[in-house]
Amino acid sequence: MDPVNAFASLAEGFQLALSPANLGWGLLGVTLGTAVGVLPGIGPALTVALLLPATYGLDPTAAFIMFAGIYYGGMYGGSTTSILLNTPGESSTIVTAVEGYQMAKRGRAGAALATAAIGSFVAGTLGTVALTVSAPAMARVAIAFGPADYFALIVLAFVATASLLGSSRTAGLLSLAVGVVLGLIGIDRLSGDARLTFGVPYLLDGLDPTIVAIGLFAVGETLALAATPPGKSHVLPLERTRWMSASDWSRSWRPWLRGTLIGFPLGALPAGGAELPTLLSYAVEKRLTKYPEEFGHGAIEGVAGPEAANNASAAGTLVPLLTLGLPASATAAVLLAAFQQFGLQAGPLLFQNEPKFVWTLLASLYVGNVLLLLLNLPLVRLWVLLLRIPSPQLYAGILVVATVGAWSVHRSAGDVVALTVIGLIGYALRRADCPLAPVMIGVMLGPAADMHLRRALAVAEGDWSALVARPLAGGLLLITALVLVGPTLWRGLIRDRTATSRVP
């Protein structure tokens, strides 16, 4: 597709995205997304999973406009909690909790919230532009990908995700392996053999990824809180606070742009979502700032950069998801499950087969960013009210919604049993300080890796050299090997950097 055509398609997408119904779904999505972003422990992955069974009858375009709103909204809402509560609303806003909370403690909550929201808007919009340009191009390239290429790509995603997320590589790989085991349960599509079912008929159809996500994120979180109930948290006041001053603006705009430049490409790599780009953006801002003494005590650059980076990476993550069917974060993994529910094939043919769907979705991302800016800055006091819901009732409510959500997937009680068991697994992983996003990625990509590997070997009549014979597959496997060996080096670099200016 040439640029002129793409522009025409996008214009058409805008027409559909701005229809009253789709605008309504988008508004619902961004509202829900902001709310779940604000509430610590509940993220967009869980919310989309909970809504999936309920949206079965919906038009896929409307459903995805809502889901995309939730995804982007979660990124905005997470910062509010980080700044006012010093508890990251989302894993991607961990760094924001450092500088943002310090700003809020010094009475500059308004400026921190504003630079986060406006930075999110700038980066979200620029990231969406980059997505609009690069996704169709990527889809054209990806059409030529064969099973060996996909296998190499998934192996790279596995290794990158497991190495870059969480406390240690071992922990990340353990989560990933658990996810792959869960994903492989059921009848194998290539041979028809039952795998890991242990004679239980319920397991023959495999675990629904939706149920795995709800179990991990809702039940697991509730169990973790039941094990060690948190103390009372203190929300910092917003009264008598000023929004951004002229100096705040001049100190923010460069970090926004740099955050975007860091966030989008790293988000587009299959490397586990927004955590890495935000950390990297923070490190870069700390290095480049003219006010190094403020870092750790509320430097606005340390909020502006990472917040921009996390929204840009959200847009970046959509590139491999839409064009390759490759999820790079927990939310993207759940979105991939959503594609499957609606019978849509995320991958290179999506732009050809479902142009109306894709372009409306892309257009809705621009619209969603505008809505989010309007929703977040003036209404921030309303969102803060959510933080006053006492956690016993909040999580009890989530538990109820989780069980009904799981039940409604197939209207089967077996799903609620599976949900509970997966919740216990999620709790055990949390206890062991293992990240949960690799579990979801393993669930979605484990069976795919197995299938592509066996397909590639079947087509090549069992010749293993077929896995590296294609330049792309061979190159990707080489990169994978580097990622596997490289982290020791990489971690050394990061440690060096943080050692010179330690975060308090």
Partner: protein, 447 residues
């Protein structure tokens, strides 16, 4: 933390609640309606058949109530097993079955088979077509079959899921020309669309699927249709049949209905008459037109004969396939069991490694006092809900989950939490029932 419920008290309270809920439960009665069970999730071919039957049966008899029930799972064998046990002797239930269920019975080692149900009628079906890309060196079925006979592995077949109609046709064809079914290099894709891309891209030698999947590409000259699996040429499909080409084989992805075991001959006849009248209705004919399903209606002894013969040949080919697979040693290629074994082994090894790395460091977050009891309480509450929801309904079970959850997270105001729980559950029930058209089970209270 002020007051914390003790785990013992919590468990006792939960157990008492569960016991009360169990004794309060009674088997819910079903209204006197005809139930059509689709042994698959909403949306697929069996579900569409069941819903088309529902429309057509209402068309024939506006006073007779018909409901569709989905019991998805394992190529329909979960639905079949449930149907045989739960509906035994009931003359007011029908189960949609099809070719894929026959293969599922053989593959999954299902304890029940189609010999355990009462045959009613075969309704519809779709025939298959074998294609090669336009630039293929094979121009006729004979070319392809010769290559298959010479070197079975060199011919890769692309089609839908393993055990599905496409897979079965490739293996039956191989057997018909003297090649062992296990020698067939069948590459399964998740659906006709994905298989089509693989055939067009030259990643597989030949494609097998329903005619509809390939029709557009055949018309555009991108694919050459070598043969159709219909017994005789169908109107509008100008492709030679396998039988015309000298291969004594035909195969349809057929669908039919059966009744539960243990019904009388008169009841069987009455159900058959009802289905026969339905097939003649304008609503059914309109469905055939719209979906492109071929009318393959057969009932009585003819259908019984067909069912037995079909079961015999499908079970036969799958058994030979599985036996052949087990006997082939060959070099190391990953079998279906490789990935689960590797992943599970890796998970265990990594778990052990993590425990070793963390020994004595106390990295893991320890549960506070009574934590295990509170976790057990939440777990039991969720499991109790799954068991009791069909009996006493969603609202009381959900309220119990809410109260237990809030209690476990440190709220001691039990009555307050029960009231909130009931409110939350009622709102959810209203949203799901009225707003989303997913009625939550209300249990024995509603009659």
């Amino acid at each position: 933390m002020a007051h914390r419920p003790s785990p013992a008290r919590l468990l006792t309270a939960t157990a008492a609640t569960v016991a009360w809920l169990v004794t309060a439960g009674v088997e819910p009665a079903r209204a006197q309606t005809l139930t059509v069970v689709a042994p698959a999730a909403p949306g697929g071919g069996w579900d569409q058949t069941a819903r088309a039957m529902q429309r057509a049966l209402r068309d024939v008899d506006p006073h007779g109530a018909v409901q569709v029930e989905n019991v998805p799972g394992a190529a329909g064998t979960v639905g079949l097993a449930r149907f045989v046990s739960a509906e035994r002797g009931r003359p007011d239930a029908l189960l949609v079955i099809g070719l894929v269920m026959v293969s599922g019975i053989a593959t999954n080692g299902s304890a029940v088979s189609l010999a355990d149900v009462t045959p009613i009628a075969r309704l519809t079906g779709e025939h298959e077509v074998i294609v090669v890309p336009a630039n293929s060196p094979f121009r006729t079925l004979k070319d392809l079959v010769n290559a298959l006979a010479r070197a079975p592995q060199s011919v890769s077949w692309g089609g839908g899921s393993a055990g599905g109609t496409d897979d079965l046709l490739a293996r039956l064809l191989a057997e018909a020309v003297g090649v062992a079914p296990a020698a067939v290099n069948y590459v399964a894709f998740s659906g006709g669309g994905e298989a089509l891309a693989a055939v067009l891209g030259g990643q597989v030698t030949a494609g097998v699927s329903g005619y509809g999947e390939f029709a557009q590409s055949i018309a555009a000259g991108q694919l050459i249709a070598l043969a159709s699996s219909a017994p005789v040429r169908e109107p509008g499909i100008d492709v030679p049949t396998l039988r015309e080409l000298g291969v004594p084989l035909d195969l349809a992805n057929w669908r039919g209905v059966v009744a539960p075991p243990g019904i009388s001959a008169a009841e069987q006849a009455a159900l058959t008459a009802r289905v026969r009248a339905m097939v003649r209705s304008p609503a059914w004919q309109e469905t055939l037109q719209r979906t492109g399903w071929t009318d393959l209606y057969a009932d009585g002894p003819a259908f019984r004969q067909f069912l037995l013969a079909e079961q015999a040949r499908i079970v036969g080919v799958i058994e030979r396939l599985q036996a052949g697979r087990a006997a082939t040693p060959g070099g190391f290629t990953p079998s279906p069991a490789t990935a689960p074994a590797a992943a599970a082994g890796l998970a265990l090894a990594l778990g052990a490694l993590l425990a070793w790395q963390r020994r004595g460091s106390g990295t893991s977050v320890a549960a506070s006092r009574g934590g295990h009891g509170r976790i057990a309480a939440v777990t039991v509450a969720c499991l109790a809900q799954s068991l009791l929801m069909p009996v006493i309904g969603f609202i009381p079970t959900a309220a119990a989950v809410f109260a237990t959850g809030a209690y476990a997270l440190g709220s001691t105001r039990v009555l307050y939490n029960v009231v909130i729980g009931l409110t939350v559950a009622s709102v959810l029930a209203a949203v799901f029932g009225a707003g989303l058209d997913v009625p939550l089970p209300m249990g024995v209270w509603t009659r």
